[in-house]
Amino acid sequence: MSGERGTVLYDVPGPRTRRTTLVVSVLAGVLLLAAGYWLVYQPLADQGELSMDKWGPLIDPGNELFPAVWRRLGQGLRATLLAAVFAILFSLLAGTLLAVLRLQLQQASARRYAGLPRPVALAARWLSTALSVLTRVFVEVFRGAPVVITIFFVWRVLPEVGLRPPDLSLPGLPMPSLMWSLVIGLTLYNGVVIGEILRSGMQGLPRGQTEAAQAIGLTPLQTTLRILLPQAYRIMLPALISQLVVVLKDTALGFIITYSEVMRVANLLAENPQLRNPLQMYVVVGTIFIVVNYALSRLAVYLERRVAQGRRVPALPAGRPAEATVTEAGAAPLAHESRA
């Protein structure tokens, strides 16, 4: 990633190139600053968007509105995180169940049911094939439909057929029906996505894993649960964590169904006659999201490195150099080797 550590795309710049780069960069920076001043700062200042009237309640602890605004934002943030945590837990659970179910159905529909009488065997095969197709359709519909539409559907449509999520608020911990609508909507989408991640992880494992498990007498279900699934979790950990970042970001869609998560709270606060600062609100809320998600993304990268090491080191014969990439020539793989 960093140029210093030996990318192979270009020679390390010499003193003249470095000087040119510096001069051009400074000039470009000055130009950019000037453009930013005239095109962004000036219009904003003219509109009074940079005044302390608008920013003060958000960034100045001395401001009289500061505590109230941040208390509300804190409540919104808590509502966002609460919905995100539930959505993540349910998505993981639903995804795991779906992955196991789909794998079992696929295997069942390929089985011959040798010991059973012919009509029963045929019925069993037919049933498992039908269920397999049905789950496939379910997966494709909810994976292919936008998550906003799914959330809106859960919120507006399901209550019409009597499926309104209950209000499970505890004292001091509001968990209204709206939150569950959001959680269900997010779970329908992300559960399916996580299910596919896990399934492809299990199917990507070497066949020897399944064969060995069968050889020691495990049933197909035992094979999936005890041999394939744990490995799929491990291999797919980075993909899973990126999906969790997606869930957290998508929780912001709660404002569409009027759930008072942080976006909606910011929205309402911005309409308050004492504040009237939508732009500043969204910038602040956006920053909060960036900080939290960036931390999660870094965690994903870190885990990816660890998982990659765990897998690569034993498979790497001592003498063979690891593959180097274009932008990280040899640096990272060498570290693996020295550790191996």
Binding site: G29, L44, I149
Partner: protein, 235 residues
């Protein structure tokens, strides 16, 4: 079923507008993403920093926030995405020329957001190119630009196709948010309008709208599966 047949024109025009929105946003985000990717691997440190921070910001912020800022904040500094009124293009995409800026704003928000993901997909492709290729190109005296243009990017493209496709599929689904930010007449706005305002039976409407998105995403997904399988064989 009657709902769908009665409102088929609304559905079809919604599908068309969503398709137009996606097509324009895809082109825009591919351009932006390529520029960002080249900046991220370039020899000029400030460009690398700039592109890296752009990607980090836009990958970690919810699209909702991007939409809020673009649709409600940009007009306060006088930006109404008029640069998207490209002469000639607004003949085919008539909504580009209309005074209400929501169609242009939706494209702008989507391409800003998706550009960051395109950049990452391309960079993963660049990383898949064996280092020897770039070294050989340098050894015969190609400059950074020539190296990228003639040696690295053509090969990176191959490895980047599948991740790029996933990014585009995600973008098509993300485009549904536009209907909640002032754009009228696309699939998701049609969905809300039919359900909220006219009180139509909702489940068929949901299935029809979902089908509208599936028509765009499923073929793309199947195509990607085929490309992926073929690549797995050649490797």
């Amino acid at each position: 079923m009657d709902v769908i047949i009665e409102n088929r024109e609304a559905f079809l025009s919604g599908l068309l507008l969503t398709f137009q929105l996606c097509a324009l946003a895809v082109v825009g985000s591919l351009v932006l993403g390529t520029v960002l990717a080249v900046m991220r691997i370039s020899p000029v440190p400030p460009l690398r920093w700039l592109a890296t921070s752009y990607v980090n910001v836009f990958r970690n912020v919810p699209l909702t926030v991007v939409f809020f800022l673009v649709v409600f904040a940009l007009p306060t500094i006088g930006v109404r995405a008029d640069f998207l009124r490209i002469p000639g293009l607004d003949l085919a995409f008539t909504r580009l020329g209309i005074d209400l800026p929501y169609f242009r704003m939706a494209i702008f928000a989507l391409l800003l957001y998706t550009g960051a993901f395109v950049c990452e997909a391309l960079r993963s492709g660049v990383n898949a190119v064996p280092a020897g290729q770039a070294e050989a190109a340098r050894a015969i005296g190609l400059t950074f630009g020539q190296n990228l243009r003639h040696v690295v990017l053509p090969q990176a493209w191959k490895a980047a196709v599948v991740p790029l496709g996933s990014v585009i599929i995600a973008m098509i689904k993300n485009s549904a948010l536009a209907g909640f930010f002032g754009l009228t007449g696309d699939l998701s706005a049609t969905f809300q309008q039919l359900i909220s305002a006219r009180g139509q039976p909702a489940i068929p409407v949901f299935l029809a709208v979902a089908a509208g998105y599936l028509v765009m995403t499923v073929p793309l997904g199947l195509l990607l599966d085929r490309v992926e399988k073929r690549q797995a064989v050649t490797r």
